[in-house]
Homo-oligomer: 444 residues x 3
């Protein structure tokens, strides 16, 4: 205590918040030491850092989508993104987490989890109890919640510029409370896919293609935007703010280090933290390769580089490496991510050919590259097989797609999911919200 005169005050200050749980002070007295519980502390820290990085991806989706829609729909898109994240946070607590991690209490073993709200360990228990799990329950909940929210974020972009706000929120509630937790439980909750040996490290299928399937179902029921496919021609509706779209992509790229790195689910041994390092560089390499692949391809095919393709190429690389970011060498990560970038360049126009109107390209990026990444796992991971990977892709895809299709149809029947033609032409911001994103800038 001899450093500076400030130290004692600092120490005092630190004692203040502790008053909050002073009642536990006695129980906590012989607090488990640092050494023995270092791994618990480090893994909890990994969940918290990984979690806040993935939370940041919600902002990335918001910026990407607000930048890629026309400015007359930007407010609506921003609103949908912050609200879907909020709804996910509530629903995942309310029923999702228990459905996803039922322990031994499955309603239908390996298929449908249990009913209940999530709860954290009581304050002070961890401090007093030496017989703990491998990390704090709350930190695990925090991290897992962010994956649930990401799944919903994926849906929002595809359906932009024409969907009614409230039915979208209802869909998000079911998706984050029920659909995602159930299909994710099959693998991450110890359900039938994990028993089979399916492998999806951080969720190429469980998060990204699931989100993509839900989006595809919505796009089919909803139909394309007015004027998108007319007289056999595809009309491009350029994004209104590419600076925002680029910012969103950078945010997603950053957040993905938490998404994939945190999915190591452990950081307290030399082996685990070294693996997290491998995951970081592979994730980065795949994104870079996807971006460069789209760069070169759009130049070759169209004679001009397409920035939105480059952005989606980076995201495609990220989705592709997500099923197995640990096992590949840097060279294999480059290949896997680069193929993701190639897929996006070809899949976007193909989707237009079948008149599925995906405003931001989420289906090529998340659904198709999610499948590609999952199929690619056995290329680098000996413990997996193409057959099992396919079973995982198909079962999660079929479940998510069919339930989503049914849900969108019900919503359509109940009150409609599409705004009026007039509202769509005016723009959802003015028509539905009465609030423009850029009210002072003249529009072309």
């Amino acid at each position: 205590m001899k450093l500076t005169k400030l130290i004692p005050a600092v120490a005092l200050a630190s004692a203040m918040p502790l008053v909050a749980f002073a009642q536990d002070a006695e129980a906590a007295a012989p607090a488990p030491g640092f050494d023995e519980f270092g791994p618990y502390i480090m893994t909890t820290l990994l969940f918290l850092i990984g979690g806040f990085l993935v939370m940041w991806m919600a902002a990335g989706f918001a910026m990407l989508e607000a930048g890629l829609v026309r400015s007359k729909n930007a407010t609506t898109q921003l609103l949908k993104n912050i609200v879907l994240f909020s709804l996910a946070a509530i629903m995942y607590w309310f029923i999702g987490y228990a459905l996803m991690y039922p322990g031994d209490a499955w309603i239908i073993p390996g298929i449908i989890g249990s009913i209940g709200t999530a709860s954290m360990e009581p304050v002070g228990l961890a401090a007093a109890d030496a017989d703990l799990g491998y990390a704090s329950v709350a930190s695990d909940f925090f991290f897992q919640l962010m994956f649930c929210a990401t799944t919903a974020s994926i849906v929002s972009g595809t359906l932009a510029e024409r969907i009614k706000i409230w039915p979208f929120f209802v869909f998000v509630i079911v998706l984050t409370g029920v659909i995602y937790p159930i299909e994710a439980s099959w693998q991450w909750g110890g359900g039938f896919l994990s028993e089979m040996g399916f492998s999806d490290f951080a969720g190429s299928t469980i998060v990204h293609s699931a989100g993509g399937w839900a989006a595809l179902a919505g796009a089919i029921i909803l139909g394309p935007r007015i004027g998108k496919y007319k007289d056999g021609k595809v009309t491009a509706f350029p994004g209104s703010n590419l600076a925002l779209a680029t910012l969103g992509t950078f945010i997603l790229w950053l957040g993905w280090f938490g998404f994939n790195g945190g999915s190591q689910l452990a950081a307290g041994t030399v082996g685990d933290i070294t693996d997290v390092g491998r995951i970081f560089v592979n994730t980065n390499m795949a994104a870079a390769a996807g971006s460069v692949a789209a760069l070169i391809l759009t130049q070759l095919i169209y004679g001009k580089i397409d920035l939105t393709m480059v952005l989606n190429g980076a995201l495609a690389g990220l989705v592709s490496i997500t099923a197995e970011p640990l096992a590949p060498s840097l060279f294999m990560a480059l290949i896997i991510g680069g193929i993701g970038g190639v897929i996006v360049v070809f899949a976007v126009p193909m989707l237009d050919k079948v008149k599925i109107d995906d405003v931001v390209g989420a289906i090529p990026v998340h659904l198709i590259c999610g499948i590609w990444g999952t199929i690619a796992v056995p290329l680098t991971n000996d413990g997996t097989s193409f057959g099992t990977q396919l079973v995982g892709i198909v079962s999660i895809g079929a479940f998510t797609f069919i339930v989503s299709l049914v849900l969108w149809t019900i919503l359509k029947i109940l009150g409609g999911i599409r705004v009026s033609e007039e509202a769509e032409i005016t723009g959802l911001d003015k028509a539905e919200l009465g609030m423009e994103a850029y009210p002072e800038f003249y529009k072309g």
Copy 2:
């Protein structure tokens, strides 16, 4: 050293920066081991991570405010935000930190701290000295500084679009150098409020409502914008860039994990890191609940969702949980944050009724919800009482409000704090700075 041929070079490289303090090498020889000092290391890391997250909130305020003002005042708002953060960094070092953490050297015991500049421990001392505090002094300073800066950020939004730039900076200098450090010392520096048992975990009152009181004083002295309240009607001046405002809200939401989580002030035991996890999920839940509460309420009351209310609802939830983010269950966090969201929806029009013109809604969000959060502490924390909470709210509120009122009045007398009517109509960017934020976009 047998991993790859690169390792030796890496090791060499790592030695390079060490040259910088080679003079301390000998003293440092028997460096305190990792095991014994794990908690010191982890808590220092918590301060650094928490600190950079809260620093990021300065960008969040900048974006939120630049998005909510009219574009003719956006440059000014951006300038104010980056400069206030800079001034806070300098003033908190120059006098703030010593005032706030006087140790045993109070000028007036428990009320006014000591005089002096902050200093870090010398390079190499920590390495050589086994008799250390619980974390590095610099990391603590870094973390605490960010709270001081946040207090100033809150003020800047309320007074937008009409305040003169230099008087605002003078106010910031006094606020960050004197007003905040004094009132914060009462609790976090071990002053009279902490002795009484007042509880404000991360600063609902000490940071947020203090900033709100300073803003309110300014708004009263400054008066409303031209045309805001005319002929008994309230005119809405819509924000010019809601994408920025949404981005700012997401940034603040992200930064708040550092704000509340870092306020645990310790991360090196199982109990502490588990508490940080609880704080993260409660913080997130309160924000989500505030956002959804504002969503539902604006739909019910106005028949249309109001995005800026939803954004402020999320922030209101965050402010509300800040006084006690550790003790509540997830359900209680939802209630506390949700009520924050409700408060904002009702407080914004109420403020307009009394003709207090708060451009971004900082007073409802930070002042009123800060009070609510502080009053709510005894609901979940047995060691506190409503009476003591009220004493804390009133003493910090009265002090900050009165000193701010006096200071704004002095500034008004000395040279005026409000731009000319002409400048206000033209916009501060052109009139005061000669620099528009979006010079190429036509304005409506």
Copy 3:
């Protein structure tokens, strides 16, 4: 395992991804304990956190530059920034890392490193091998890669609004694959500068002024924008989106904590983490001082505050402290950063006098302040000398400038590096990419 019913499921879930490397399970059985390897774990974590913060700086440069160019060139600037980051990631893996860290295998000892691609330790090796380096190879690669990418980011801003896209990418490939790794190897790879005792903690010279020299060479070969210097007058081309520019500055400020703090290259002892804390506060102080210095100076000299100068002042402070963020006291950090801010205010018009057109001010900020910061090292670090610092500045500067000059000239001869006059007037976005950043907003 008695906390809640959720724990067993959580534990199960955590086992899932582990399937991915189950083949290593046996080898990993006696995994090195936490205690002994705590420093390895903490330093790896520092690299990963520092690395993702510096990665985020790529977004900062993108926003800063997109905000400071005219809107007709914003898409191009965004594209260049995401692609240069991607190219850097690939090239640094492909040849850069081996060139920079050759170990004992120099091609020309101390001057030119070795040939080869970078590789990570195999999965599971770290877990099984107790005889490890001081941190994971992949985490080191990740961190170092980000510095390489930053060097390229600096170049992109200066040459905006007139350079052809593909020649720029070719330059980036050579810069990130060859030029940067070679000059950086002289110091950080254990080359001749490090043997001499040159000191550049986090790269004021190695990263920032190197990037600045490459930019200067390009600006000379490329020439100024049409209309910039006409009839002896300098025409200002105001940035089109100052909100983005401010956001970019905040992002860079945030990322710099990783840039400088991570350059401690160790976090597993009390001494190291305490140093990281010192670095954080010094970095912050220098930025604040640079910003305030530019604020005061522009008011005094021009009678009006210039926001872009304040932003560049903050960046100038950051660059200035980067050569020695550890040794200075807070007061010296304020002086060093403040002088950086002063330099920028005077250097920007000086550069215009010699008709070097630097669109974003990267040469004053990164080149000139990089030199200043490197020269200032002996002021606070006894183990260094002005002479040796000058040798480092001159050798890295001469090498980078001359090689860049040659490369830009070759590119000019081969196919030209400048767009047509017509394309420049139309804007690169329409002319080269056929894609506007803000297609719906009327331009003035």
